[in-house]
């Protein structure tokens, strides 16, 4: 009894962590589970009536779902490329240079993150309305780049702050022009942060509902499509594709982590580790 009690006390925090994580993952489990549910009309009713692979076999069988998902993927792709590029440039400017207007720039980057999405969406819509700009893919693109920039800057900046500049200086000493030094030295070194920032921008874009809801016009992204059909009935394929997307993200992250671990193993046989090895011998 006392041993069990001691064990429980000792591990209480980790048991709690396990429960909390189960809570975080519960809706994802529900989404995946009901992608295997037999339903009568092919619409989600969230009432378990038996296992079927029907909708997985027919994952792309709902044209409207595919079209919305494709729009989302295209939008996320272009807005990720643009926001990652200009966000990385901003991070470089803020970390590497002292200049007038630095404080204002920092404020400009933080403010969008401290503003509720609905206000960002409403403000953009007000401007588009006043200027009579037609809502659609372009306005969505403008909005998605806008709300992704801040996150890109913050992720890339955190990597740049602890950055050793001696390699760049060595390249310059060896006669490399600034752009060459950037391309061959700086970019490969900050690449992990840029990739992480791009993944975040992609995830933010593909998940966004609120700001898109205000600025989409008749263009339908994946979340907007789901919202539109949520009252009439959601095709089971939505859950199938959502589960697939989740699995793809998990696989992608696992691949990046494995890659990094391999990188660390290679880095571990650098010369400066040698004294430690001698000591062991």
């Amino acid at each position: 009894m006392t041993a069990a009690w001691r064990w429980l006390r000792h591990n209480a925090l980790m048991i709690y962590a396990g429960l909390a994580v189960a809570y975080m993952l519960a809706p994802i489990a529900v989404i995946a589970l009901f992608s295997f549910d037999q339903t009568t009309r092919g619409k989600l009713d969230y009432d378990w009536s038996g296992f079927t692979l029907e909708y997985w076999r027919d994952a792309f069988g709902e044209p409207a779902v595919n079209e919305a998902l494709l729009t989302s993927l295209q939008l996320a792709a272009v807005s990720t490329v643009v926001s990652t590029a200009i966000g990385t440039m901003m991070a470089l400017a803020l970390v590497r240079h002292r200049f007038r207007g630095r404080a204002v720039s920092n404020l400009l980057i933080v403010l969008p993150m401290a503003t509720p999405e609905i206000v960002i969406g409403a403000a953009l819509l007000s401007m588009f309305l006043i200027y009579g700009i037609a809502l659609g893919f372009t306005t969505l693109f403008i909005a998605h780049v806008m709300f992704s920039i801040s996150f890109v800057v913050i992720v890339v900046r955190s990597r740049l702050i602890g950055f050793d500049r001696s390699l760049e200086e060595a390249a310059a000493d060896l006669g490399a022009r600034p752009l060459t030094a950037f391309r061959t030295i700086t970019l490969p070194l900050i690449a992990p942060a840029v990739v992480a920032a791009a993944l975040l921008a992609f995830a933010l874009s593909i998940d966004d509902f609120v700001i898109s809801n205000f600025n989409s016009g008749t263009t339908e992204t994946f979340p907007l499509y789901i919202f539109g059909v949520s009252l009439r009935g959601i095709p089971v394929q939505v859950n199938v594709l959502a589960t697939l997307l989740f699995a793809a993200a998990v696989a992608g992250i696992a691949a990046v982590l494995l890659q990094q671990r391999r990188g660390e193993m290679i880095a571990a046989v650098r010369p400066e580790r040698e004294p430690a090895l001698y000591q062991e011998a």
């Binding site: 709690y16 975080m24 509720p116 206000v119 007000s126």
Partner: protein, 292 residues
């Protein structure tokens, strides 16, 4: 030549992003303010600038229940999220060992499924006669014939869940950076575990808590998805009103005025909160210890 280049370089790098944010964040805010002072309707041929200050008065008197409810729900969700997040962030940062990466991944995993689908999944979990509701009824948290869906509790639960990662990650980041030798030092100086936590760990994680509270509270106030999907007719938040005024009733000036007021109210709450958090017990203690 080189000096001139160095001076111009930061502006070249900053330029595209700064212009994008200025044009599509700052300028729209101005136009939202301008829209709030217009009047008219779509049918009568659009909205003209008439300095209609009464739009603001109408927004205050017309929707004060929804505004109050938003702040109440968002506040409750923030407190709940903090209670759930702190022990979890602590466990991940200081106790998890080789499980750390896996637990961190589980925290951000919800981001990889669409926000809307996640909330719809909660609708299922909290539906009448679902296993979760049965358990709550068994525990007498919910009366035997009571329901969870379409109540304020469901909205708060949804807000808590959806913004939880924004609470966990900053707290985790502040605890992760902490030097654990400080706790050992406190214990060497005969502090109990509880005292070491209160005097050392908590003050060190305070900036993470402050950031987490803001990152949870601000989006929660403006949210309308949870109230729409999990709440009933009586749980509309200010976001629902703004969304409906903009996108269904197309009363743009009124909607803009209400958005503007909500933003102002959030700013007031944030400033007051930062004042309290900045000069409160957390920071005060830390300063004293630094001086001693």
């Amino acid at each position: 030549m080189g000096g001139w280049r160095r001076r111009i370089a930061p502006y070249g790098l900053l330029g595209p992003g700064a212009i994008w944010l200025a044009l599509f964040f700052v300028v729209p805010m101005y136009f939202m303010g301008e829209m709030a002072l217009r009047s008219g309707s779509l049918e009568s041929g659009g909205f003209a600038m008439t300095w209609q200050w009464s739009n603001f008065a109408d927004a205050v008197t017309g929707y004060e229940t929804q505004v109050l409810r938003s702040f109440l729900y968002a506040g409750a969700a923030t407190v709940l999220a903090l209670a759930i997040a702190y022990p979890l962030a602590y466990a991940i940062a200081l106790r998890a060992g080789r499980w750390k990466l896996l637990l961190l991944f589980a925290v951000v995993a919800p981001f990889f499924t669409t926000y809307l689908i996640r909330t719809i999944a909660w609708k299922t979990i909290l539906a009448d006669s679902s296993p979760a509701v049965d358990i709550l009824q068994f525990l007498q948290v919910v009366p035997p014939d009571g329901r969870v869906l379409a109540t304020g509790g469901a909205v708060v639960a949804g807000l808590t869940y959806n913004f939880l990662p924004f609470m966990i990650l900053p707290i985790y980041a502040s605890l992760e950076r902490m030097d654990v030798r400080l706790i050992e030092a406190a214990k060497d100086l005969y502090a109990s575990s509880a005292k070491a936590f209160w005097r050392v760990t908590l003050p060190i994680s305070a900036p993470g808590v402050v950031a987490g509270v803001l990152l949870t509270f601000i989006p929660a106030v403006g949210d309308y998805v949870n109230a729409l999907l999990l709440g009933g007719a009586g749980q509309a938040m200010v976001g629902n009103v703004i969304q409906s005024l903009y996108l269904q009733q197309r009363d743009y000036p009124e909607a803009a005025a209400l958005s503007f007021l909500m933003m102002a109210a959030i700013l007031v709450v944030v400033v007051v909160y930062l004042r309290l958090a900045g000069t409160g017990a957390f920071m005060g203690d830390e300063d004293e210890e630094a001086r001693a």
